[in-house]
């Protein structure tokens, strides 16, 4: 896969799995186009995503709809799938475990730190994807591979099935697409 495409894909998923934001919500259709083009996927998944866009035209309604799914999925709702790797990989079900520390150190060793504005934990799904986009963008393939193998994939293997199982619009489809792109299965 080309460097640019990889970067774009990572960015697109980072955008979706980070907290809902007006600009991402506005450009959701473009993300769907990108996925439809680059990821071998079923018509059904893309169709469901497009249905969502039709049901919630860009604007506040769409943002609120995304929040309505994001919060119970990741935040304080039913918390069906806490988006932090430590919760799964450290066995204690808590955040900021060893995995978070290792990921943070990885960022540091690559020359990145967490911005203070967003206030996010290092092992948030969206942040890890964003980091890979950065590496892909700068052509740091070795680092990207190493990070992907050690941190992203083990995380994706646990969290993506959970997100898919919730059947929440947008998120479960995005998880489905990310699964087929990163884990090579549908």
């Amino acid at each position: 896969m080309e460097q640019e495409t990889a970067e774009e894909l990572y960015l697109s998923f980072a955008g979706i799995f980070q907290r809902p934001r007006p600009d991402i919500a506005r450009h959701l259709e473009e993300l769907i186009d990108l996925w439809a083009q680059e990821i071998p996927s079923s018509e059904k998944v893309i169709g469901e995503l497009r249905d969502f866009c039709r049901a919630f035209p860009a604007g506040e309604a769409r943002e609120n709809a995304l929040w309505g799914e994001y919060i119970p999925l990741f935040e304080t709702g039913h918390v069906e799938a806490p988006p932090y790797a430590s919760v799964y990989l450290d066995g204690e079900g808590l955040v900021l475990g060893r995995e978070a520390e290792e990921v943070r150190n990885f960022y540091l060793s690559s020359g990145y730190g967490l911005g203070s504005e967003q206030g996010e934990l290092p092992d948030h799904l969206g942040v890890e994807l964003e980091f890979l986009a950065l590496l892909a963008g700068t052509g740091s393939w070795d680092a990207a591979q190493s990070f992907r193998q050690k941190h992203l994939l083990p995380f994706l293997r646990v969290i993506l099935p959970k997100i898919r199982a919730t059947e929440r619009p947008v998120y479960s489809q995005a998880a489905e697409l990310l699964t087929s792109w990163q884990l090579g299965q549908c």
């Binding site: 450290d90 066995g91 204690e92 079900g93």
Partner: protein
């Protein structure tokens, strides 16, 4: 003279408050849903209004004739230089033979490591630093005494010399180092 660490549990002072249960979890990073020490309620017995209940702290009894050490196929379970039964997790394969042999149900397979796990009297984290085990130092009721039974001046040795205590399941001849004082509860 070699050390012989021992614990005395004065059941009448145990409030069943579970401070020890939780302290142990954090001191030893025990995975969720698993415990190195528990303090279940025994009873209530009797009939209204003449009722009794007490709590019995249960953990590894640090047997001097330990069935777990005897059966362990890899010598992972062993006596250390201070006479404690410990597990070398590098040698343990998780065959659970020790668990079938332990009459006190003190062992479990650690969800994170896959190896047998149990109370160590906080050997590495505390007692080698001259501190008392985590459960002892957080005991709200002051029910737990700990020290070197071979040192006649120790609190434990003096207590054992002056009180009638019992060991659990003495019929198995395991010679535990954890002594129970049932005075006032039975």
């Amino acid at each position: 003279m070699a050390k012989h660490y021992a614990m005395v549990i004065q059941l009448k002072k145990c409030l069943g408050c579970q401070a020890c249960t939780v302290a142990c979890k954090f001191e030893n990073k025990v995975p969720d849903g698993q415990y190195r020490t528990k303090s279940p309620a025994i009873g209530p017995s009797g009939t209204y209004p003449h009722v009794k209940v007490f709590f019995e702290k249960q953990a590894c009894q640090m047997c001097q004739d330990a069935p777990c050490v005897k059966v362990c196929p890899t010598t992972a379970s062993h006596y250390n230089k201070d006479g404690l039964v410990l597990i070398d997790s590098h040698k343990c394969v998780g065959c659970k033979y020790c668990m079938t042999a332990c009459p006190y149900d003190a062992r479990f397979i650690n969800k994170n490591t896959g190896t047998a796990d149990k109370c160590t009297f906080c050997y590495d984290t505390r007692i080698t630093k001259g501190e008392k085990p985590g459960c002892v130092s957080t005991c709200v009721g002051g029910a737990l005494l700990f020290g070197d039974a071979n040192d006649p001046q120790s609190e434990v040795a003096r207590y054992l010399a002056t009180h009638r205590t019992e060991v659990r399941k003495a019929r198995f001849g395991t010679r535990p180092s954890v002594h129970y004082d049932y005075e006032g509860v039975k």
